[in-house]
Structure formats: C-alpha cells, structure tokens
C-alpha cells in the first residue's frame, strides 16, 4: 500500500470523486470558520489581557444584527452541505437498471459472495471495471456492514432484511473491504479484498473457476420442487397461490387494496412471513418457512423466482399486474 502518510484512500469507484469533493468543500468551509474563531480568540486573549488587577471590561450586551448574521450565514452554508450530500446519497440509494447483481452474505465472522453464475467466494469479491455492480446483502446472524473505503461506500447487512448497495468500479486493482458494524469477537477479522478486473479478465475468471459450482437459479429451482412450492404456485396461474412468472419488479395488488413492488425484500418476506401481504384474490394458506431455509437457500429461491421473468403472466385474478408495469 502507500508508503507515505496518505490523507485519503485511493479513488476506485464512481462515488469516490464525489465523496472526496464533499469532503473538500466541507473541510474548506469548516477550516475557514475554525481559523477565524481561533485567530479572534488568540488575538483578544493577548490584546485585552488584564494589566490592572482591578480593571473591568467594557460592558457590551450584544448586537441583534450580528446575531442575525451569524445565524443566517452558517445556515446558508449548512444548506449547501445538505444539498451536496443529498445529491450523492440519492444517487447511491437509487441503483441503475443494468446492474450486475452479486449476492453477499455476512455471518460471524466471514463474508460469502455469490456471482451471477453461481460461483462462490469467501472474503473475496471479484467485479469487472466500468460495470454497475449491485450487492444484495443478507446476514445469517447479527448486523454486519460491508464497507469498501476505496469505493467510499458501505451498507449495513441486517438479519431479516435485504439491503442493497451499488457502485461502479473505475480502476482495476485490489482494495480492502471491511465489516464496519461491530459484530462480536472477530469483527476486525471479517475483512477481505475486492478485486476489480478488466471485463475480459472477469469473464475468463468466471468461466475458469466456475467448475463444480451450482448456479443459484438451478439450486433455487431444485429447492422450489423439494419444498413443494410448485404444488400451489402453479406456473399457469391455476393453483391455490399466485403464479410467480414475471413477478419480480412488477406491481402486486394486495387483498387490502394497496400495491407493492415485488422486489427482493418482498419476495423474502413472502417466503418467511406469507401472511404479511396477501395477494388480492388468494387465501392466506401458505405456511411460513421461517427457520427452515438458510440465507443461501433464500437467495437461491430469490434468484430462481427472478429468473421466471421472461415468461408470460397468467392471471387467475387481477392480483399481479403485467410485468410491463415495472415501478
């Protein structure tokens, strides 16, 4: 790594220059105020030093124009900081459509990643440069946090939730990632390396090391059969439960009249707590799978359900809107 004392980490993602820009802007404003205050204090401290032990100062009670000025000017600068930060944050929280999705599972005290083709990695993550990468994060136990300083991004990994984060690596190389949410004894060892590769190298790496790995879609399909999901979720929509074809990303009409977007979190919840959101036209008959599936199995099922995207949506009722109605 760098031999001298660096002031900021390498910039290796689309967010890094923006975050460093915010840092620079806020540092300049704050430095200006800190220096002004310090100079004023030091100057007054010496200039008005008491020489006669009995001297008193000049009685000045205040000045409302000054008070107004030093409320309004900092407020304006603070709003500029707020706006600058908001722009970057909204960008970060809104993933583009064309992402390469990688599943990441945190558990005490290791990271497991799974590439779209099923290739699994431990405490390593390989991504292609220049491609929008989205991580779908799940935890098997406590709260973790996936943090890549060189990308300036992090996101908590929370049991019972799917969080997502995205970035676009801009420079090939190897970069540290850390767990930055304290998670118990070996929290500090729950770290690894992101390897950013040229797209061709990435493709070769995927092809070269994928032997013996199960594609998550295939694994999910197998589970779907094993757990007898297909008994009710019949593909042509004639079963006791809604067809899952074309479900992902579409809007679902619920029994209470509201609509939800069928995203990763919705699919997960529907497996673990089937009665939380009932699709219009169906009965709450599905048993819960809470405690019966590992996070990896859940992700496999999720991947399989997503893969049903290309097929048409047979509808017994108006429960599931056509997939064209995405978002």
């Amino acid at each position: 790594m760098q031999s001298q004392l660096p002031m900021y980490p390498e910039q290796a993602s689309n967010f890094a220059p923006h975050v460093d820009g915010l840092m620079l802007f806020i540092t300049s404003v704050c430095l200006f105020f800190a220096v002004c205050i310090t100079i004023a204090i030091v100057f007054f401290f010496f200039k008005y030093r008491r020489k006669d032990p009995n001297a008193v100062g000049v009685a000045i009670e205040g000045d409302s124009r000054l008070e107004a000025a030093w409320m309004i000017v900092p407020l304006i600068l603070a709003m500029a900081m707020f706006a600058g930060g908001a722009v970057v944050y909204v960008d970060y929280r809104t993933a583009p459509k064309d992402t390469l999705d990688v599943y990441v599972i945190g558990k005490q005290w290791m990271w497991k990643a799974q590439q779209p083709n099923g290739l699994k990695e431990i405490n390593e993550l390989h991504v292609p440069v220049g491609r929008n990468v989205r991580l779908i994060l799940a935890s098997e136990d406590v709260i973790h946090d996936f943090f890549v300083p060189a990308f300036r991004v992090k996101m908590d990994v929370i049991p019972g939730h799917y969080n997502t984060m995205w970035f676009r690596p801009t420079r090939p190389g190897r970069y540290h990632f850390f767990c930055s949410q304290y998670c118990g004894t070996n929290h500090a060892l729950m770290a690894g390396w992101v390897t950013v590769m040229e797209p061709s190298d990435y493709a070769a790496w995927l092809a070269g090391s994928s032997g013996g790995q199960t594609n998550p879609v295939v694994a999910g399909e197998k589970l779907f059969t094993e757990k007898a999901c297909a008994t009710c979720h019949v593909a042509n929509g004639t079963g006791r439960a809604p067809s899952l074809n074309g479900l992902y990303g579409g809007q679902v009409l619920l029994a209470d009249g509201s609509k939800v977007v069928a995203d990763d979190a919705y699919i997960r919840e529907s497996i673990l707590q089937p009665n939380a959101k009932i699709v219009a036209g169906y009965q709450p008959v599905m048993p819960t799978f809470q405690g019966q599936l590992t996070e990896e199995q859940l992700l496999a099922l999720n991947a399989y359900i997503k893969s049903l995207q290309s097929q048409p949506v047979p509808a017994k009722s108006a429960g599931i809107a056509p997939a064209t109605g995405k978002n």
Partner: protein, 557 residues
C-alpha cells in the same frame, strides 16, 4: 503573574460551613444537603472516570501494533464496551449536572436547597445501585456488546454479562429522571426575590434544558434496554428477526435517547463556559438571551435528529433526507453560542487564570467537534465515514474535548467555593495546557484514520494504519498526565491550599455572595437580586476599579 487580586491574608475559613456542620459517615450517607450530595457524586463519578480511564489506557496500548499488542480479541471488545458504558452512563451524563449542577443551582438562584432534598439523595443511591449492577457485569464476565447494545448481538449472540449491565443502566436512568425533575421544579419555584428568568445564570438555563432531556429521553433508553434484556432472558421477540422482531427498531429507540444524551453531556459544559468567560473577561456576556435560547433550541431540535445515526441501515431515502436536514439545523444554535462567547472577549479585561484556559480550550475543541459533525450530517459523506474512526474522533472532541474540559474547568472555577481553598495556580495552568495538547494529539490523528477507512471497534488493523495509531497512543499518555495532575493538586489543596475567601475572582453570581464553603443553609439571610446577569459596572461590592461607589442607603432597592 496572576491578574486576579491576591487572596486577602485576612480571610479565614468560616467557623461553621456545610463541611464541618456535622461529622461522621452517617452525616454524609444520610445527608439531604445538596452540597454534600454533590460531593458524594464527585467521589463516585471520579471512581467511574478512573475505571473508564484504565480501560481507555489499555485500548490505546493494545492498538500500538497492527496485530494488537496487549489482549485477546474478546478482551479488547470488552475493554471498549466497558470504557463506553462507564464513561457515558456513569461519568459523563451525571458529571456536571449531578455534581456541579447539584451544588450550584440552589446557590445560583438563592435557594436553601433543591425542591426535593430527599429525592436528591435517593437519586444518588439509585445511581450507586445501578453502578453496582454494572460493576457486577464488568467483574463477572464483562460486557462485549459495544456501549450501543445493538441487537441481536446483545440480545442473542453475546456470551458476556449483558443482563446485569442493562439492568444497571435501566436503574441508573431513574437517577437522571429524578435529578431532572428536581432541577426543573427548583428553578421554577425557588428563585430568590429579584431572580427573574432573564437574570438566571446561563449555567441554570443550560441545566433547565438538560433537565428537559433527562425527563423526556431517559425513560426511552431505560425501556429499550429493558426490552433487549427481556429478549435475552425470555426470548421475547422484540428485536431479533428469528423471533419475529426487528433489529432496526432497537436502533430507532436507542438513538431517540442517545442522541439527545450527547446534549445532556455538552449543554451543562456550555453552561459552565458561559459562567467562566464573563467572569474572567469581566464584562457581561455577549447576547445573553441568544445563549439562553440556544440551549432550549438545542434541547428541542436535538430530539429530532436521532436517525442520522442510521443513514446506512437502509432506512428510507426520505427519512435520511429529513434527518440530515434537521441535523444541520441543530448546528446553528451551537454556532450561535461559539460566536457569542468569542465576542464576549472583545474589549474585555481578560485574565489568564486556569478556569479561563479551560473555557477557551473548550471553545477550540468544541468548535472542532461541532464542525466535524457537519461532515457526518452530510448524507453522501456519511456513507464513507460512518462507523469509522472519524466518528470516534468527532464524538471524543464533543464529549471529552467539550464535556470533560467543561467539567474540569468548572471544578477549578468553583473549587474555592466548594472547598474554601485555592489550588496552586501555576501548576493548574500547566495542567490545563497539557490536557489541551494531549487531547489533540490523541484524537486528531483519528479523523485521518477514519477518512482512510479504519473502522471503529477493531482489535487489529491493516499495517498502513499503524503510524496514526502510534501517534494517537503517544498523545493519550500526555492526556493521562493532564488528568492526573488536577486530581493530585486539587486533593492536595483541600488541606494545604490558601484560604480563598467568598469571592476570589471576583464573579457576579449569587453563589459568590455567601461564604466559601457556604453554610448548610447556603445564605445567612435570603439574598435579593437587584442586578442584571454578569453585570460588573453596577456592583460596587466587588471592589473593582471604574465601578460606581455605593449608592446611598435610601437608594438601595
């Protein structure tokens, strides 16, 4: 080279004061005198400061090498957790309010005691009982959840003594609530004749604001930790998703108290500084009503910013935008205070006495702490620096640079009142400067460490972070000296210090109108306030130059 008038050799200790009015251990343990209770707190918070300080020392030694120089990962995790719990719940939160506030609020408003003296003593006992639970946890397996007790780590996965610790903090909460209640009732009902709201010392205003947070916030943390304890003991599903709970709920509840708790720590310190600066600049404070109002504004807005601790939990973007915006708003009243303190120095008659050095040190460190809060409130930037050493540096600048400087400065300022004795001035100035330098050396490198990406709570770290960690540890050894010196000479001065007299600086507050140390009933006759706050020019009784001579007796209203 002191510019304070030399102590009058004629001064003698009062024949009877609150310290020698009665004797024996029972007279202390069953006292209802707010001044004695304050000293009970002084002793007990010092014990916790020592315990927390020993943990901190071990942490800094451990981090000298990337692999960790001193202890196992389990032990390291216990050290930083116990450091946080001891320092936050049992030192910082009670330090200024329960010690200085307890001692001074009745004196400052001209009352004989707090409104509920027995409840005041009860608060101390509750604090001690809560403290014993926590010490029991430390002694029997320790605590490794982090002071934030995030679930489900604390409620399910941790193998340490979580249950007694959360019970201890739950119990201790009632001490805060009762103290806050006592202060509010006292300030409302027991002010001396002439002590109007706008003549209240700013220290009292700050404690009024703090008390609001005590009463409204503390029940939430108490209940939250109790729920975590119940989940741990009986597997009730509040926060653990495996039991049908939600870990994010815990964070909302936890920070609903624990963010305002930061203001519990720093508002009283701001009150201390607002007293010290006019005294040693010998002029009225600049913008009295703005400083008083900003305390209330901080207390109110401080309740609306909690989820800025949760920007990367996946909370909704709209929530994040709202909480970021409100966090920027709460910065304004703090800025107003800093500007007003600085302006107070203008055309003052500034002495370089020890409390003033602490107060100015407070402004410098609090300014850095406050300004770095702007970095963390910035949504885009927080994605990167959240949960790194940047956060550690930021909140130590507020809580140690701010609150502890304020506390130690306040102890020096009122020490003559509390004990009747003066401490060695040259030594105490030296200690104040050592503290300031040691503090900056310890914590400034941590800002850089954080931006470079070193996460907090790491028992080992990549080698590229070593240089800054070594710098920080070196600073900490200087900082430790800065704390040990005052402990030594203040203790020494209780016996050997020069007699201070009632008003050594001199200062304008009512507490300086009575003996040092004050009698048990505080004032021999009920005082009457006829002057505006921090007013030197109409105070011939202070014996300063350029002050109008005493008005004839008939004009004395």
């Amino acid at each position: 080279m002191s510019t304070t008038p030399p102590p009058n050799p004629e001064y003698k200790m009062p024949r009877e004061d609150y310290l020698n009015a009665t004797y024996g251990i029972k007279s202390w343990l069953l006292t209802t005198d707010h001044k004695r209770i304050a000293l009970l707190y002084l002793g007990s918070v010092t014990v916790f400061f020592f315990i927390g300080g020993i943990f901190a020392t071990m942490i800094r030694i451990h981090l000298l090498t990337p692999a960790g120089a001193l202890v196992t990962p389990e032990t390291y995790n216990k050290l930083f957790t116990m450091h946080g719990v001891a320092m936050i719940f049992f030192f910082l939160i009670p330090s200024i309010p329960a010690m200085l506030g307890n001692f001074l609020i009745p004196l400052m408003i001209g009352a004989k005691d707090l409104a509920f003296p027995k409840i005041n003593l009860l608060s101390w006992y509750i604090y001690i009982i809560g403290g014993c639970f926590v010490l029991y946890s430390f002694g029997t397996g320790g605590l490794d959840t982090g002071w934030t007790f995030y679930t489900p780590l604390s409620s399910v996965y941790s193998n340490s003594a979580v249950t007694p610790a959360v019970l201890g903090i739950f119990i201790n909460g009632f001490s805060s609530i009762l103290t806050g209640l006592n202060f509010i009732v006292t300030i409302h009902t027991m002010r001396a004749p002439g002590m109007t709201w706008l003549r209240l010392p700013l220290f009292v205003w700050a404690h009024y604001a703090t008390s609001i947070i005590f009463i409204l916030g503390t029940p939430v943390i108490a209940i939250t930790l109790l729920l975590a304890g119940l989940e741990r003991m009986f597997h009730l599903g509040f926060f653990n998703p495996a039991f049908g709970g939600d870990p994010i709920l815990f964070q909302h509840l936890f920070w609903f108290y624990s963010h305002p708790a930061v203001y519990i720590m720093v508002l009283p310190a701001m009150g201390v500084v607002s007293e010290i600066i006019p005294t040693f600049a010998r002029k009225p404070i600049f913008g009295y009503s703005f400083i008083a109002g900003s305390s209330i504004a901080i207390a109110v807005i401080g309740f609306l910013v909690w989820a800025h601790h949760m920007f990367v939990t996946g909370e909704s973007t709209y929530a994040a935008l709202t909480f970021s915006f409100l966090s920027y708003l709460v910065a304004i009243p703090s800025a107003v205070k800093v500007f007003n303190w600085t302006s107070t120095l203008y055309k003052g008659s500034i002495s370089w006495d020890t409390p003033m050095i602490y107060a100015l040190g407070f402004i410098g460190l609090f300014t850095i702490g406050g300004l770095t809060g702007l970095f963390l409130a910035c949504l885009g930037l927080d994605i990167h620096i959240h949960d790194t050493y940047f956060v550690i540096a930021h909140f130590h600048y507020i809580m140690v640079g701010g609150a502890v400087m304020g506390y130690v400065g306040g102890l020096h300022y009122w020490w003559p009142k509390i004990t009747g004795k003066l401490y060695p001035e040259a030594l105490s100035r030296f200690a104040a400067i050592v503290l300031f330098i040691g503090f900056n050396l310890t914590f400034f490198p941590q800002f850089i460490l954080g931006y470079l990406g070193m996460p907090r709570r790491y028992h080992s770290y990549p080698p590229e972070f070593q240089v800054l960690n070594v710098l920080s540890t070196a600073g900490a050894s200087i900082l430790a000296l800065g704390y040990l010196l005052p402990m030594a000479y203040l203790t020494w001065s209780m016996r050997y210090g020069k007699v201070a007299g009632p008003n050594p600086w001199p200062a304008t507050g009512l507490e300086w109108k009575t003996d040092s140390p004050p009698p048990t009933e505080n004032f021999h006759t009920t005082p009457e306030v006829t002057w505006e706050p921090y007013d030197f020019k109409d105070r011939p009784d202070l014996g300063l130059a350029g002050v109008k001579p005493l008005a004839p007796a008939h004009g004395d209203d």
